[in-house]
Symmetry: C2
Subunit: 318 residues, 2 copies
């Protein structure tokens, strides 16, 4: 088993696409071998630049990610793309395969593309994506693009691990002001105004600028607004240039260590939680007992705080 | 202290608005007294009907919630509204106060309205909202409307506790098919096509119907599509009627106990996690030690799995 994992890790480090893909699947399924694999790969990580791309559905993120990846390929960099797909148990993401567009890139050896389903698993999305990025990092990808659909909490958490976060907006989508709402304003390091050939783009840029002006800048960085029309490949080079400027800026500001530290504290906490709950629920309390307690709570025969106290005391933890 | 909490609980049960509001704030801040309060209120919960309302920004959810609340008030029911606002530390939700519109309702004694900020707190959103709903339930509100912005994982989790979930869609918002993507299709018990006077509404309804037709119905319920124009109060009575039909259907199907059980299992698990981590981190490992371990991981001097093993062994848990 140990040798198998060792071989797998070596294949990944050599950039083997099938080995990479199996690793992402193992992470998605939270298979035990995923942990063993990450343990092996971990020392070889920490080199890649991770770019998070987020925004509401319909903003053209996927196209933008394609173009940006092509741009980096043109610069001779290898690219890994993780597209977080909050798809459902029943569709399995299969109804709407917008990643099909990416087939041009998929046949390019320097680019690895994988979508990750979240399968309604709360909180684990950020961890799973982070672990997949570690695998791509160990595989030697220079640039890792993590694309998330949506504007929710889980998605925001996903991009928090990124070295640079792009927020994609589109003029005239629903109520303009509303689209700026959902906590996106302070996670954006660079704002991309996609479909910027649409009517109302100037007005929208002004609104956005006005809001960004009151955001306290981090370490002297003022988030730029880059106008793109991804479908026509307009503005993508400028976007790559701004990302490079951003990285230079923070290289000098020594910001990455602080971000990394915060990320790993969170990561350790999550793993610690999982381990502790496993210890208690697998070894001290049977599923039946746990379910019986939950049923008493649901029937209002016991309050939930008392139920948890009972579990802890049965597990010998006071 | 115990008497203070007791008084507070009594004020809440009497429907005192300031006591209610203080409770929601305590839950938001995860103050220790929030737990003590919930312990007291818990036996008086389980009576309210909780309706979750979700959808992307700009779909007009807030207006719809206002109208639905007015409709229930017209039926003599008391209403509690929780608007989840994934706002940011720096805006505090203050930039864009769309709840101002609700002032008409706010002066009505039978309606309690509160927005809850999420403050970038992963995973806790669902629990905080659930706890706030318990408080409103104990306060005797008949209908609790929980509105979430966005289509992300956290938001989906929030509505999972609801007795009935409305998914709000709008024709012609971005790519139609994309808006249907983000895991919303199987959480919707009723689909609301708002702004249905817009061009393309018929085509959109057809697309939606086609997708819903392949969703396996739950307990024989086929999610209806209700067309509304919330700003003109069109279709809102029909929506309330469909919600009532839904409740009748599942009253007969005895579905609520199963949902409640699943909800409380999840809730107990989360509290157990928190308690266990508190036990270990507060009592066995100092913040400095924990931070030092995370720093070693960030510097790739230790792998994260080994770090967690070390924490567990120091805490005497093998």
């Amino acid at each position: 088993m140990a040798t198998q994992i060792e071989n797998w890790a070596q294949q990944i480090r050599a950039g083997d696409v099938r080995a990479l893909s199996r690793a992402v699947t193992a992470i998605e399924n939270r298979a035990p071998e995923a942990e063993q694999l990450l343990e092996k790969l971990f020392p070889y990580t920490g080199r890649a630049c991770r770019i998070g791309i987020t925004g509401a559905p319909g903003t053209g993120k996927s196209t933008l990610v394609d173009r940006l990846a092509s741009c980096y390929r043109g610069q001779g960099k290898s690219v890994g793309i993780i597209a977080v797909d909050p798809s459902s148990p029943f569709t399995g993401g299969a109804i709407l395969g917008d990643r099909i567009r990416m087939q041009g890139l998929a046949t390019d050896e320097g680019t690895f593309i994988r979508s990750m389903a979240t399968r309604g698993y709360l909180g684990g999305l950020a961890q799973a994506t982070g672990d997949a990025a570690l695998v791509l990092d160990a595989a030697g990808k220079d640039m890792i693009l993590v694309e998330t659909v949506g504007v929710g909490q889980g998605e925001i958490e996903v991009v928090r691990l990124a070295d640079c976060t792009l927020v994609v907006l589109v003029p005239g989508m629903g109520d303009d002001v509303q689209s700026l709402k959902a906590g996106l304003m302070e996670i954006g390091d660079i704002f991309v105004l996609n479909k910027s050939d649409r009517e109302g783009a100037d007005r929208f840029e002004q609104q956005l600028r006005a809001i960004l002006d009151i955001v306290p800048g981090r370490a002297g960085w003022k988030p730029p607004i880059v106008r793109t029309v991804a479908t026509e490949n307009t503005g993508v080079d400028e976007l790559a240039r701004q990302i490079a400027l951003y990285r230079d800026h923070f290289e000098k500001a020594h910001d990455r260590p602080a971000r990394e530290l915060a990320y790993w504290k969170e990561w350790l906490l999550r793993l610690l939680e999982r381990r502790l709950v496993e210890r208690v629920l697998d070894k001290r309390i049977s599923d039946t007992e746990f379910e019986a307690l939950a049923a008493q709570v649901a029937a209002r025969k016991k309050d939930p705080y008392a139920a948890v106290k009972e579990i802890l005391s049965r597990a010998g933890i006071s």
